[in-house]
């Protein structure tokens, strides 16, 4: 070959997708996507590893505290602050609080927004670093 032309990247750029706007996800879909890997599909958790969300007093408790937990993370649970919008967090929490025997008032995006603007008591989490 007489030269090394950058054919690969050019082709790749032609087939790259133009991010189509998806319809807003439901609470159930958001749960399946973001939470179910650990808390399990029916919120049953895994003993000794991931807490069950079904019939969980904490989950059914103060909306502000619950919203802050998703925003800031807790124990091994990561923060979803930069990944989920207020509306999405409200939707997924409302779903969890009304599923698997849980019964608690819905959580509104307004509550999430105010939890988001509250100062994080323990300071921001260290940015995840590669090892």
């Amino acid at each position: 070959m007489k030269s090394l032309i950058l054919a690969g990247p050019m082709i790749a750029s032609l087939i790259s997708f133009s991010g189509a706007q998806a319809a807003p996800a439901t609470g159930a879909a958001l749960f399946a996507e973001n939470c179910a890997a650990c808390h399990q599909p029916k919120g049953e958790g895994i003993a000794g590893a991931f807490p069950a969300l079904a019939k969980n007093a904490f989950v059914k408790g103060d909306p502000k505290v619950v919203a802050a937990t998703i925003l800031n993370g807790r124990g091994g649970m990561p923060s979803f602050r930069s990944d989920l919008s207020d509306a999405e967090i409200a939707a997924v929490l409302t779903f969890v609080r009304a599923s698997w025997g849980n019964r608690a008032v819905p959580i509104t995006p307004v509550v999430v927004a105010s939890a988001r603007s509250a100062k994080v008591a323990e300071g921001p989490r260290k940015i995840m670093q590669a090892h």
């Binding site: 030269s3 690969g8 790259s16 939470c35 590893a49 649970m77 300071g123 989490r125 995840m128 090892h131």
Partner: protein
Amino acid sequence: MAMMDETSGPAAGVLTRRRFIERLGLVGGTTMILAGMEALGFGIGSAHAAPPVLTGSGNGKSIVVLGAGLAGMTAAYELTKSGYKVTVLEARSFAGGRCQSARAGVTITELGGQAQTCNFDDGLYINHGPWRIPYHHRSTLHYTKTFRVPLELFVNDNDNSYVYFEKGTGPLAGKPIRKGQIAADARGNAAELLAKVVNKGGLDLPMTQEDRDLFVAYLVNEGYLSPKDLAYSGAEGRGYEIHPGAGVDPGPGKLTTPYSMTDVLHSKTWSVLTSVAGYEQQRTMFQPVGGMDRIAKAFEKQVGHLIRYSSVVQKIKQSDAGVEVAYTDSDGKPAVVKGDYCICTIPLSVLKSIDMNVSAPFKEAMNNVAYAPVGKIGLQMKRRFWEEDHAIYGGHVHTDMRDIGSMSLPSTGFQSQKGVILGYYQFGNEAAKISAKTPAERAAHAVAAGQKIFPEYAENFETAFSVAWHRVAYNLGGWAEWKEDGRRDYYPTLCKPDGRIYLAGEHLSYMTGWQAGAIESAWQQIAHLHRRVMA
């Protein structure tokens, strides 16, 4: 000592310092040189370069070590050398803990997940746990050297690899760009701007005219500027469109045209550039030839006879007389092992659910550290298209694609037929999200992302092996992540023994998520334990 005088006083300078170092070498060999370098402020390594010297004998005192990861095996190896009687309980059927490599036949079943068996061809592997070693992790390197584990270079930075950013704007968004081209153009354009302003006296710099001229000369060099008009118009190092060759065709070849500063800025790809490498991440690092688990296997050769495999710790009880550890053995039957002391290397994410009689503050401290969700996937490719078609030999592909983190090309087996690519390496909520998918869905996700960068990706993909460390039993997370308040309020408590129980592992170091952290934590704890036994 006379030589100290030579290094102080008005004459002390580079030459005398070098003489000092040479003298040290004459007296005490390399170790002396290293210690001397440290004294002069040329620190080159982690706090400890060699295991503690345990003078005197453990005199047959018995130690129960929990966990046969690197921390546990380090403790077992060093304590045995000093006359202690060591028993190691390990939950898994193999030693090494996180220090694993996946090759044909390796199986994994995540909590709540499907069983996976690695189907890579013979000789191929992925380091789905630890994969690179910095030059200053002298503790890890101490054992690779002692146990004769051959190392090779790990390509941690490659100018010819791609950066793929789709969240920026402009003509470079959503296009694979050679990292070296971004580096050349970002720095070249920045140097041009600065050089022109400085040259015109446009900046109020506290510099003499001579310094200013030298600064401009530096910028000309740094940014490949034309000395005549201080313009940046590309650089040889960013590559050729037609490479130089023989005769008149291709002859001199044809240089590539630089990207404009605006395009580079808006692409956001510059975020992968920094003027120097990080402390933990250097441009070249090390990896064991054949897989990271060669380190685990080398330790196992030394201490394997002390390990009781498939032995899951259930309860740790201590009294004035000693420690008693209840576990289920390889047949699932309850068993007990007793000892004078216990060194427990079980990750805190797991340990906090195990019944043990320690003080309330100790218990509370164990509950106050988070473990990182981390995901990796290895993709076996039929053909090394990244080498053959793109001339990329090792290194990473940095991207801002969702739920990918970064990708990496193998630093081993260059120019052979097949290879295993690291298809993603993500953390936090991205790792949590992808771990909800089945192994097949994860592979599909990784391949779709890779296809955006390499058109040959999907057609060459053969088989995958993925792991989500937060869902792996006996680990429940990639590594400990201490927050500031945790380091302040809880970490020191755990570094001290609770009665006869000493904790060790990467989580009890400031090198969390590194093998050196596990090894050096073990070194520190056995030194403390030994001092107590000798007292």
